[in-house]
Amino acid sequence: MFNITFSGILFSLRSVVPLLVFACAASAVVFVFKCINYQGSFIPAAALILLMELGLLLKVRLAIFPKNALYPETIPVGFNGTVWYYVLLYIFSLVVLVVIVMLFFCRRQIRLWRTGRLLEWLSVPHKRDRSASGGKDKYIVTFAATVSIVGMLIVLASLFNDGKFLFSRIPWETAKVLIPLSLSGFLTENSRLLQPFQNSKLTISLTGWGPFFLMAGVPLFLFSRGEVYLALTRRLRTGNDLYNKHSAASFYCDKEYYFSVSLY
């Protein structure tokens, strides 16, 4: 009972419930945006929700039918663990989205370190904020904090979680938000001084652009060092491991095989 037929395949109600739960959460997010009188473009939110719903649909499909749905031996493998984990993760991501957008609404209500704007406090690009937040060049503090956080996560992950932090071997996802933020702060404060062309002549000042390239290059150094560390502790898979141990047939095996190869 409660089965749905879609493209010739019988889906049980249990496989549709995660999609419905996520759809309800997405509707709630849209409702929140409406309530707070969001004035920006809704296109990214709509695209985000549609992509997440499609991603969840694929995860349900891959969890229910590890092989082809027409094969009689198909069984629901890891449905409860995998799919509900992703439902919760997607809902948590939507909460993150709402919180980040809401930070811009808290400009007058919650004054964070006397500036009120979290993103700008991190980089201090605005003249009005400079006196309140302790002067310029705060992007360096943000940058140092980013490098410290990434380094700390690498060490923590390698110590406690078998070299992984939320499925990331090297948790450089933190840097994806914070490094552009600090670089934006640097460019905002210094872009007037960093004109490559002055009096129709190309003038690239190393004293001006040097810190920028240094900041942009440090993550590469940090991540490559991280890889060296993990390779030394034999936690990093190499190209040869991939070619020798992975084969199309072996991926019919269960999840344990996959993780045993990945964590080689």
């Binding site: 499609l54 092989k67 997607y90």
Partner: protein
């Protein structure tokens, strides 16, 4: 491209060099067991893309597990196989809508900091999408990055939602300033 690669080859780790060489010489030694051993991952992905056709095999009717790492790196191949060209094109259009909104938001910013932040976030998002889809289509070398919002990922999903949140927040700010 060969010349460029031989210049930078000593600087990159061995497995990156192997992936790059695999991409450049993809059809070398085809058809042979050696070729299959080297390139089965991309070859299976290309087979899946071809098998999908215009409308796809149908959800649940394809064989996505033939492609290694179909949950994470090659989720685009699974979409193309089961939902076809139409489905994969829809995914690209959804990503394009986010990118175009990001670019438009950046150019509507009144303050330089907002412009830099939104530009950086949009470029980062776009690069990862292009690199992943390009890798699945064998237009670019395989890099191992996930497809944002679709692939099996944990931290990456939260990060990309945060990036889109920043774009939306600045878009809201632009909207308020234009009132």
């Amino acid at each position: 491209m060969y010349c460029t690669f031989w210049i930078i080859a000593p600087l990159v780790p061995e497995y990156i060099a192997e992936r790059f060489m695999l991409w450049i010489d993809f059809w070398r030694a085809f058809p042979s067991a050696e070729w299959w051993d080297r390139s089965y991952q991309t070859a299976n992905a290309l087979c899946a893309l071809r098998a999908g056709g215009l409308l796809g095999k149908g959800l649940g009717l394809g064989d996505p597990y033939l492609v290694p790492l179909v949950n994470s790196d090659f989720i685009y191949a699974a979409i193309a196989e089961e939902l076809g060209f139409i489905g994969s094109l829809s995914v690209i259009l959804l990503y394009l809508s986010i990118m175009i909104t990001g670019i438009r938001t950046a150019f509507h910013c009144r303050r330089r900091f907002d412009f830099f932040v939104v530009s950086a976030m949009t470029v980062m998002l776009s690069c990862q999408i292009i690199i992943n889809i390009g890798g699945a289509l064998n237009i670019l070398p395989l890099t191992g990055v996930v497809l944002p919002l679709l692939s099996r990922s944990g931290f990456s999903l939260i990060t990309f939602t945060a990036l889109i949140g920043v774009i939306m927040a600045v878009s809201h700010k632009n909207g308020c300033e234009n009132l």
